[in-house]
Amino acid sequence: MTSFQWQSLVPILPEITMAVGAMALLMVGVFRGDKSAQLLNILSIGLLLTVLGLILGITPFTLTTLNNALITDSFSQFGKAVIAVGLMAALLLSHRDLREGVMGRFEFPVLVLLSGIGMMLMVSANNFLSLYVALELQSFPLYVLAALRRDNAQSAEAGVKYFILGALSSGFLLFGISLLYGFAGTLDFSLLAGTLMQNGAVPGAVIGMVFVLTGLAFKISAVPFHMWTPDVYQGAPTIVTSLFAIVPKIAAILLFLRLLNGPFAPLTPDWIQIIIFLSIASMIWGALAGLVQQNIKRLLAYSSIGNMGYALLGVLAASPEGTASVLLYMTIYMIMTAGTFAIILSVTRHGEGVESLHGFAGLSKTSPAKAYALAALMFSMSGIPPLAGFFGKLFVFQSLLESGFYIVAVIGVVTSVVAAYYYLKIIKIMFFDEQQESFDDAPSSQARYFVAALSLAFVLFFIVNPNVLMATTRIAAQSLFG
């Protein structure tokens, strides 16, 4: 064993910075109390900006560190940058609510940061042990956040539900990992790939993989492991829901990509069937169950289930093109979701956020800008050109067809038409229905308008120059395939 070298920590400098920063902020919060929640939020955004700078500053060579436990490559760099941006968006959306009241708690930004570290480590994981630790680090702050409104039964229920099902999925994951370890004698991704390559698809390894995928499917809420999503989305405070919707799934999908194209690549014929099932079931259930929802947060939960189905379609291709299409899809989806929540959070009545779908009736008359922005985002979500959401789907389907999954592609587009119905329903309510009760006049926070404006600009103008983002996703995907 060679002596420890400090230089070997350079690749994970962003995470270290974030961890140290989060601890420092926690201390500030402990000593100054809840009054400092907004201050901490601003400092956290600053910290994330620094981290983003570090992520982008590190040269994108493939490097491993801490005895191969973590890997940094273009793929993880891309993932971390997107996660950092998503976390910033989530913090910006929350800023106003942290001012006072039940949500005015200094723990909020700190927990978000801690979870963020977990997500970043997840996309860097190169060994099942670091994967598991990162995943748990990501999950625990989220359980707490879901139950942040302790005085509210729904919020507490959401937290408990999320925790129990999350713990169950971790159990599956661990069980799967132990089977794989028992079979291969290693937890290292590349060594495992080598062993699997040599021995072929032996049942023990396949069962282990199935359990690992099950555990991860919980995290991205793919059907049939989606049950927690609608309840947690609805029960959690809206700012927390927006965090759930914007960031964690990116880390989990990226983990899918790294696992399936790395250690599990020799088992491709086996996992393809699982992914086909997960994606078809998610698309169909996400579309059908969304049709009858009356609560916008619940609706968006089903929408996210469906969207994970589309992201998994790109995973199916198991090619650099497919991976690039997933990265693009997830980035576009994250930006659309951030914009959507920015607008939903800014629509209030008697100081409370509007949650029922019909509560949005007549929004186009009182706040046309919000209504048009939300309409554009909804059209984009349903995949209508020329908006960004269309291109996300376009490239996923292209990679899918290139790999020859014709029937899956047909199912995918048909469910996208079904799902279009509920996105249109939101537009219909805002534009065609008459207003019942007036909305609050006071403008919402500038930060939310800022996020909404950025998101809208992206959705509208992605078509003008898509190549920068696309080239980045291609480079990132390429690094995964060496």
Binding site: F390, Q398, V413, V417, A420, K428, F432, P466
Partner: protein, 503 residues
Amino acid sequence: MLGFPLLSVLIFLPLIAALLIALLKGEHVAKHARAVALTASSIVLILSLYMLVHFVPSQPGFQFVERAEWFPALGIAYHLGVDGISLFFIVLSALLTPICILASWESITMRVREYMVAFLILESLMIGTFAALDAILFYVFFEAVLIPMFIIIGVWGGARRVYSAFKFFLYTLLGSVLMLLAVLYMISQAGTADIPTLMTTMFSPDVQIWLWLAFFASFAVKMPMWPVHTWLPDAHVEAPTAGSVILAGVLLKMGGYGFLRFSLPMLPDATEFFTPFIFALSVIAIIYTSLVALVQKDMKKLIAYSSVAHMGFVTLGIFTLNQQGIEGAIFQMISHGIISGALFLCVGVVYDRLHTRDLDRYGNLAVNMPVYAAVFMILMLGSVGLPGTSGFVGEFLSLLGAFQVNTVVATLAGLGVVLGAAYMLLLYRKIIFGPKVHDDAASLPDLTPREFALFLPLVILVIWLGIAPSYILDRVGPSVQNLLTHYHDKLSTDQSVDESTSP
């Protein structure tokens, strides 16, 4: 050949105007919005006429071509151009938009700014659809049309507007996404989305069948062909007058244009295979929807069903796969665009006065509205296909083409002409001459100068194109000939390959 990118200007000028209107503020927003919209769309019309004048009729290939890289990695480019097939659709879009804006001058009082924005966006998307020479670019324009149209029907429509807007949107979307898959498959095979290149790419006959069906799903809904036409009567009835005009005038033509641009040149074997199927659907559409039109009580619904019947002649003509048939189909589409657009305006005129489309409420309009009666008569006769009007040329050529291929089909379709005459004449007799049922209906004021100005260019075109169809046919002909030569070449090479491989 021109110093500036004419097609891009045609596409983006309305968009810029729409942006300008969206940014308008102040008391007189509505007034200014109308003025800007009318000015912009008139400039587009003038530019499109300029394009028409500078179009070289004898050249069958694409003209005014523009090309810029867009997604170079995937072979998708911003590629525009016109040939004889698309030329007149662009002019038609540019002609109908200012007319629609003028037609809504007084009848739309609510959210005028948004209305004008929607129409200008619609215009740029329509022109883009016909000018696109890249399959993905085409799809983007083709599909994006749904957004403004959904809003137009849903916000400014009639009582059942929500139902109709959803039906319109979801029907067309379902068809289109299947087409998208076909386009993506073709791109993955050919390595490019360039339409002229795709036209020369060979696809194996088995694959063609599936691709053809996917395109058919989209174009048949858009056309609309029987039995997927049911969204059209709903959408027409609920849409505001100008929405119906654009819908009937231009949007329905996208289906026929798609068949000519994609199905025929790219998938000749499947086209050959499915021709009897299309003939059957066309004949059913012509006869069945004509019969349905006969019993309608709602004026807009009647004209909507007549549109389905007229589109039956178009599909019939396209799939005769001979010069007369296809020329007839294109002519019929242009003529139908003008006539049905104008007929919806006619309905709009009386609807604005009496706020009902119920046939039974009207009667004896000729007494008080002689000018209206005259205009309506010319349009009605055009729709019936009286020689001397543009409607005759299209139907005649389509039938002529059909007779060369299949006399039974042509005879049955000919029967449709008779039925067409029946329902249109009944409609006309009922509302213009029929007995005076209601005093208010019989005492409506005649056309205002603004309304007259709307009809004038359309009526002149109906007669002029009926007398001198060669203006259009001379420009359409070479492109159609090129299409057919290419079609038969590709078909025969495919067959020779089959023969050589089979023992």
